[in-house]
């Protein structure tokens, strides 16, 4: 058996792949957080809960309507996105004139409600969600076994992240979005419907979270607590990357996933804290974050 630094390559690459997958989720979630924060100036604490909701919608579509994974991949983000639009219109929109901290408190309350409701209905033990048949099995590479589904998750999330980046950087819609992020009053004066933009941006951001939830469903079991566990790590990712740059948050997400995977190989005890430790180091060296714009 081949080894690198005394670790079998099989284990090393296996953990790296797992890290890359966690990184995909960090990337999509922090991307959504960054877009929402950029325009709405709100840190969406409910992001983790909506990610969990995406996974649950996928499970419900399968269990109650017999609609499989590929349907879920399209429908679940839509459901979560529409839910987000309703949340924004009914609740969040009332807070724009207040201190940003109220947005954090409101979305924290929403997260508690959503998680509590799912916990009451489905318990905390987790529900299984099968890998779609098209993506079961795997490839035997010279240095490791690569399960097809895991490869798909990495590819799918990279595609979504790049597509989002292209929309924001290269399309007219994205240009409006960036302009509204810089100066909403001025953009409104040019006749752009900024409140509608805010709503759609929030919907889009949480739809991304719902999409990540569907991707995660076959890997982790569908569990009401899955969002609460990941959102705090994603916050740390956001602090490390800074929310000024779309690409920055994607790169940071993937990179930190990899680092976490490596830590699992070489020093497993620290794997749950390594991202927080990196956050501390970044705060000491570059307080604005790796891609941050303002100090």
């Amino acid at each position: 058996m081949m080894t690198i630094f005394g670790v079998p390559t099989q284990a090393l690459f296996g953990q790296l792949l797992l890290g890359l997958i966690n990184g995909s989720f960090y990337a999509i979630l922090s991307l959504g957080l960054a877009i929402i924060f950029g325009l709405l100036n709100i840190i969406n604490f409910a992001h983790g809960a909506l990610y969990m909701m995406g996974a649950f919608v996928a499970w419900m579509l399968l269990s109650y309507f017999g609609l499989g994974y590929w349907w879920a991949l399209g429908l679940a983000p839509l459901v979560v996105g529409v839910f987000g639009v309703v949340l924004e219109r009914v609740l969040i929109a009332r807070l724009y004139k207040l201190d940003h901290l109220y947005g954090l408190l409101l979305t924290f309350g929403l997260a508690l409600i959503i998680q509590g409701l799912f916990r009451n209905q489905y318990g905390v033990s987790g529900l299984p969600y099968a890998i779609p048949p098209e993506l079961s099995g795997g490839q035997r590479l010279p240095f490791m076994f690569l399960p097809n589904y895991r490869a798909w998750v990495v590819v799918a999330s990279l595609t979504v992240c790049i597509a989002t980046w292209l929309i924001i950087e290269k399309t007219k819609l994205g240009a409006y979005l960036r302009a509204a992020t810089e100066n909403p009053t001025l953009v409104q004066a040019f006749g752009v419907n900024v409140p509608l933009f805010l709503t759609l941006t929030y919907g889009f951001g949480v739809a991304l979270a719902g999409f990540a939830g569907v991707l995660a469903a076959p890997i982790y079991s569908v569990n009401p607590n899955m969002g609460a566990d990941i959102i705090i790590v994603v916050f740390a990712v956001v602090v490390i990357g800074g929310m000024g740059s779309i690409i920055g948050s994607v790169i940071t997400g993937f990179a930190l996933g990899l680092v976490e995977g490596l830590t699992k190989v070489f020093y497993p005890e620290a794997s749950s804290t390594v991202i927080f430790v990196i956050m501390v180091l970044v705060l000491l060296v570059k307080p604005a974050g790796l891609f941050g714009r303002t100090a």
Partner: protein, 329 residues
């Protein structure tokens, strides 16, 4: 963009009319009333319930010192509360310390932790500050989960209450209540003193307009760090005391939901009011005691209270009363 947004945004704490001698007199009367209430309450109510309320009230007061007067929303106060309760429990159980020393050890731990975490967190402002404190507290949670001395999922159980100064046995709930009441009252007076000191005035100036405070020559970061450490220390005092009262330190005390709970207490009672957190703690602890039978619904109800408070009731109970009376409370 950031600057104009800060100007547009309403301040986090309710604007209070300037204080004069009459207001101070009213607050003094409330203090005396509270002291009397603390003496009478155990005759009427179950002492263990009262002690729980008092520990959480002190925790919320400490948190409010940071949020209401420093304008800093920490989402990780469970770290100081919880780690202090671990150290206090460990000191009393394993090192065989007397309760006052155990509480002191726990409080000192929280102070130290507050110094380290605070100096990191104040490097960023606003929303980032909250995220950093939350992430650091989650690190403390994982530490408590993995470290040997905390007992993992079981926590530290059957902590002896011992004898205060080696003389007064605290196994009697009435004696224990006496200690908790004294700790709470002294903690509250300390916070009151801090708020009304020149230091407190500068804090409020920083909260309301940081740039102006900087331009006036105040070293804003030193003030922020100082109030952070004070707040963490007092939160630790509450946690350390709670560990002795309930003879237990567990992961619940360091979990992020505990950080959320103290935010909720302060929000319900009234951010930036002197007495609000006490009312908030009373409301939330009572609510949880009565709703315990509904299990997981407690979380949902807490969430609803959060949402309702943020949307409709931002001043909190005491904030509302203060506005009606046109006096700061």
């Amino acid at each position: 963009m950031a600057d104009t947004a800060a100007l547009d945004a309403a301040p986090i704490a309710a604007a209070v009319v300037p204080e004069n001698r009459d207001d101070k007199a009213l607050q003094r009367k409330i203090f005396i009333g509270l002291a009397l209430l603390l003496m009478v309450a155990p005759l009427v109510l179950y002492p263990v319930y009262l002690m729980k309320v008092l520990c959480f009230a002190l925790f919320a007061l400490a948190f409010n010192l940071l949020l209401g007067y420093g304008g800093l929303l920490s989402f990780g106060h469970a770290a100081y509360f919880g780690m202090a309760s671990y150290l206090s429990a460990y000191g009393a159980k394993v090192w065989g310390l007397s309760p006052e020393l155990a509480i002191l050890v726990g409080t000192a731990t929280a102070a130290l932790l507050g110094l380290v975490f605070g100096s990191l967190a104040i490097r960023r402002q606003g929303i980032y500050f909250s995220m950093i404190t939350l992430a650091l507290a989650q690190m403390a949670f994982f530490f408590a989960l993995q470290a040997k001395f905390t007992g993992g999922e079981d926590g530290i159980q059957a902590v002896p209450r011992g004898a205060l100064f080696g003389v007064i046995r605290l196994d009697d709930d009435r004696a224990m209540y006496g200690l908790v009441a004294v700790v709470f009252f002294l903690g509250m007076l300390t916070i009151y003193r801090i708020i009304h000191s020149p230091f407190g005035q500068v804090l409020k100036a920083i909260r309301d307009n940081e740039s102006r405070a900087v331009s006036l020559g105040y070293r804003v970061n030193q003030y922020k760090l100082a109030v952070f450490v004070l707040s963490a220390t007092l939160a630790g005092l509450a946690g350390a005391t709670k560990a002795i009262v309930f003879q237990l330190a567990s992961l619940t005390d360091v979990h992020w939901s505990m950080s959320g709970e103290v935010v909720l207490m302060t929000l319900v009672g009234g951010m930036g009011t002197v007495f609000g957190p006490i009312v908030g703690a009373l409301v939330i602890v009572t609510m949880e005691t009565y709703l315990a039978q509904f299990g997981a619904w407690v979380t949902v109800i807490q969430g609803c209270v959060f949402v309702l408070c943020v949307l409709l009731f931002r001043e909190g109970v005491v904030g509302l009363i203060a506005r009606r009376l046109r006096k700061p409370l």
